[in-house]
Amino acid sequence: MNLITAVIKPFKLEDVRTALLAHGVTGMTVCEASGYGRQRGHTEVYRGAEYTVELLPKIRIDLLVADEDTGDVIDAIVRAAWTGKIGDGKVWAVPVATAVRVRTGERDAAAI
């Protein structure tokens, strides 16, 4: 089993979720995050002082998937999150040793 983490542009969350549903993935955990990277931020003005805001709002998705689905799911996310512009984000996968569904105590594949 793997944990896929995707850092994407916030307005792409709906699209990614739709794509995942199409792959039969219904569960995921989502956080607000901020990203530094190649993409540039904006400038704010406050009584004559200008501030450069370099951190950009991003959404982080964490998602447990079975080993055999990992490649497909990553591809699906990448396709759905793509705009082609700087700042589209990253997706990565980390191997998971064990997973449990709290409600039932089911383990690993059954817990997803």
Partner: protein, 493 residues
Amino acid sequence: MVVPEVLDRWRAGIPQLDAGNNAWMLVSAALVLLMTPGLAFFYGGMVRRKSVINMLMMSFSAMGTVGVVYVLWGYSMSFAGNVLGGLVGNPVTAFGLAKLGLTAADPNGLANSADAGSGVSGLAFAAFQLTFAIITVALISGAVADRMKFTTWLVFSVVWVSVVYFPLAHMVWGGGLMSGASDSLSALIFGRGPGGSATIAPMDFAGGTVVHIDAGVAGVVLAFLLGRRKGHGRDPMRPHNVPFVMLGAGLLWFGWFGFNAGSAGGAGGLAALAWINTSTATSAAMLGWLAVERVLHGKATGIGAASGAVAGLVAITPGAGFVSPIGSVAIGALAGGICAWAIGLKSRLGLDDALDVGGVHLVGGIVGTVALGFFSTSTGLFYGGNADQLMAQAIIAGAAILFSGGLTLAIGLILRSTLGLRMSEDEEYDGDTAIHGESAYDFEGGTGIGSPGVLRGATHHQQASRHGAPARASEPAPESEPEPAPEPEEAPA
């Protein structure tokens, strides 16, 4: 031109409008009306984020229900005639503010004005009184925060104002049992003077008993009947928005000038005295509360400053026109200190008076009412008076407590066994989203992002279906490049 008319009418013995006094009453009424939204924020900031809308709605809905009820039968029950042996006015006599209307002969509606003597229109007097009824009901809501069923609250507001508030207003201000009239408790106890009225009249300038003790007791009784909030004593129930609490306190302070100085019934020296005393007592009470807090807990807090100010406003209400500025400083400081200490009592009693309606309005109202026995410049012990005034004040406070306590208990018990007092557990856990279908804030949504509210993942069925569009269209929403194809949002050519 004003003067000629005035002279003629004066000679003819007809009550005349005093535009200055009438203007002051209209302004005061508006100020008091603003106190209820102010209170909504004072209370709303103190609850948790999940129930701020419910808290605001209890005040706003009181503006709805009581605002309507007052012109229907409220004014009439308070000030028109006498039924049940002076306990209450006749709800029919001036239903819908009948008899206060303007006519060609009486274009300013002075004929049946309770304030005709100072040239104030009967409608202006009614307007002022209306706002008092609203805020009194709204005050109660602090005690029942987070757990009272909203529909029951609506019903309660109508029933309570009719059964408790209007009669009490009648008894104290309409020449009833708790006034100084010839058939009042005071006349019975202290005897009647030459004019027939009581030798010692209880004093309540602007509603220490009718408004604050009344609402304070009702809050305590309801809190008792409702039981404690889920998680009380375990979860931290911290104010979610202290600036809102202070905003509310600021608006209350501002509006209270209408409440107290407006209770002079006109814009003369008495109103000015009440104005000054209102401000001074509030300042002193804020300092008093902060001092006690500092000693007991090591810090002077913003909630403390706001609460102290409100405690001072409450305590000076009964005496605003009867004490000297220095007296008002003393009353304020006392009230601030005592209330800061009194809010600790509820924990010992195991009572969940959520926002301290008892500790602030009941206790502050009692302090202010009883303090007149000492500080009244005409009859107080500190100004050469004897203990009679003190006794009269204690009696009026006690009577108000019993009256409001007993009737509120009865109303509460009936509502509990009919509509139910307490909201469902789901509603209590989830708060606004379950009760009002709303959440107060959406700070996540739209932080400079094309598609806002992303963390809510919401679809709006209704609007979507009205457009005939699929609920979750997956059209691309690029961040900042011109659309290649025309979008539906485009303007008509």
